[in-house]
């Protein structure tokens, strides 16, 4: 595989809940404009790792985060770095689609509005652009002002994708983004992610190995809070170096 350019560099990340370690000494480079998939059994810290990237761990007191995460040469946990600035660079897709309590239009327009875009015409253009990018435009173009909660789950997730893209991030984070969706919507979301990777760095957490095989360029195997193995997807799937990885891939541990 060709050399990857690094977008995010995680250096010595430790996350502790009191005395209980959740993530131990994570050191990892996430490649730029590729899809990185974090796999591993549930409860091993995958979601925590993801949330540490956009500083969503901050609101939970009792969690202690040490180490550095460099994004574009800036340590996101450095002193004086604003969490909101960091979060804007990263869009998040949750497992259960979290639509904001407002209309479809307002959902997508949420981020642009917060960041200063007020002009009606530009907003409408922006909303349309991102709804198309998420593959939702045709289904909702006639009802943009209806509440987003009325959409089906699959549509809601695509709305969340459009909304996240509208914040103009560089990185997309997905926390099991298709596990709550039916197969058709899942497929749809996966296809979108594959299309988007040419412009965004994408990091997805999943427990579905087959999904990882379908979309991953780079794999990170997280087990019991540690990075056991990581590397280009083809290599890791074909020739896993660590026995634990092998065990997980063959289904012995889950």
């Amino acid at each position: 595989m060709t050399e990857f350019k690094t977008h995010i560099s995680i250096q010595g990340l430790n996350v502790n809940h009191g005395r209980l370690p959740i993530l131990k000494d994570i050191t990892l480079d996430i490649p730029d404009k590729r899809i990185t998939v974090i796999i591993g059994p549930s409860g091993c810290g995958k979601t925590t790792l993801l949330k540490s990237l956009n500083r969503l761990l901050d609101p939970y007191d009792g969690l202690e985060v040490t180490g550095r995460i460099m994004v574009d040469d800036e340590d996101i946990y450095g002193p004086g770095v604003e969490a909101t600035h960091i979060r804007r660079k990263m869009g998040l897709l949750s497992q259960k689609p979290q639509v904001l309590p407002m209309s479809i239009f307002d959902n997508v327009a949420f981020a642009p509005r917060i960041h200063g875009l007020r002009e009606k015409k530009k907003l409408t253009q922006t909303v349309e652009h991102y709804l198309r990018l998420a593959g939702l435009w045709d289904e909702v173009k006639d009802r943009l002002s209806t509440p987003a909660s009325r959409l089906s789950v699959g549509q809601q997730q695509r709305l969340c994708l459009a909304r996240g893209l509208a914040a103009e991030p560089e990185i997309i984070l997905g926390d099991e983004p298709t596990s709550a969706l039916d197969p058709q919507s899942s497929q749809h979301v996966e296809r979108r992610l594959l299309e988007l990777k040419s412009d965004y760095t994408i990091i997805v957490v999943t427990h579905i190995l087959r999904q990882a095989k379908r979309i991953a360029d780079y794999i990170v195997f997280l087990y019991l809070g540690e990075v056991v193995e990581h590397g280009p997807a083809e290599r890791v799937f074909a020739q896993p170096r660590d026995p634990r990885t092998k065990a997980y891939l063959t289904g012995e541990i889950s």
Binding site: P59, D61, A83, H85, L100, C160, G164
Partner: protein
């Protein structure tokens, strides 16, 4: 044991019925419209206009809500969204204690501290007030209503999942923007219910307000005027009730009106809460 379960329902019915029965006497003599809208209250002359008392109740309640709603909501938001973890177990008991203090205790404090305060305030505004006023009643009432609104609001806020907040934060919103545009929006109906419950509590509150509001049966024209809310009317005049004809009937009518208004607000709040809960499923 089964028979006992019918008691609560029976009680509600008996109350409404009993009050109505007693009020019938005066309703037979005077039309309800005149009773509610006339401001002439001269029982010895047979005039029972309830308007001053309705106006007094309304005035005190409005002042109380204007003070209580912003303070209660801001406190509730702080407690559920911003307060450091160590603060929460201290704040809860404080709010509950405030809720448990008896009405007369609020009244004593009102007489000692609020009434002189209002008197001084009136001078600042170039009006005269003895201090016993709608404003004093409103202030004391507001403090009594704080725990009601805060308690319900905090419960409503905590029913919103953290993931929803995370979703807004990950779009680059500040904590406050998340609260403003997501949490408050989602809990809108619950907040309305909290306020309505506070309103209903304010309506029915008797003693504390009675002790500071002045008790002059005239429609108040400013918050520095004395007033005479409906519950105070009942409390003050039970002694004379039996001596003047139709007085007791008029008072029972007042009690009935009070009961109906409070029941209305309580049911309204309940309907809103149930609907909001159903929507969240």
């Amino acid at each position: 044991m089964f028979g006992l379960t019918l008691v609560p329902g029976l009680l509600v019915f008996l109350m409404l019925f009993g009050l109505f029965w007693k009020a019938k006497a005066i309703l037979a003599v005077k039309p309800i419209g005149r009773l509610l809208l006339s401001s002439a209250w001269r029982p010895s002359r047979g005039e029972f206009g309830l308007l001053p008392f309705l106006a007094g109740t309304l005035a005190v309640t409005v002042v109380a809500m204007v003070i209580a709603v912003p303070i209660s909501l801001l406190t509730a938001i702080y407690l559920s969204e911003y307060a450091p973890r160590r603060l929460r177990p201290i704040a809860r008991p404080v709010v509950d204690l405030l809720a448990g203090l008896p009405s007369v205790v609020f009244g004593v404090w009102g007489v000692l501290m609020v009434v002189p305060l209002v008197e001084k305030l009136a001078r600042l505004f170039h009006t005269y007030s003895s201090g016993y006023s709608i404003l004093a009643g409103g202030i004391v009432l507001a403090i009594m209503v704080f725990p009601t609104i805060i308690h319900v609001a905090v419960e409503v806020f905590s029913s919103i999942s953290q993931e929803l907040r995370d979703a807004a934060l990950s779009l680059g919103a500040t904590k406050w923007e998340t609260v403003k545009k997501v949490v408050l929006r989602k809990s809108g109906q619950g907040i309305v219910a909290a306020v309505v419950l506070g309103l209903s509590r304010a309506f029915g509150e008797t003693m504390a307000v009675l002790m500071v509001v002045g008790n002059i049966p005239r429609v108040p024209h400013s918050i520095f005027d004395a007033g005479y809310p409906l519950p105070a009317l009942l409390a003050n005049n039970y002694g004379e009730m039996m001596s003047v004809p139709l007085y007791d009937s008029a008072l029972m009518l007042a009690a009935l009106v009070l009961l109906l208004v409070v029941l209305f607000f309580n049911s309204l709040a309940r309907v809103i809460l149930v609907r909001a809960e159903r929507r969240a499923m």
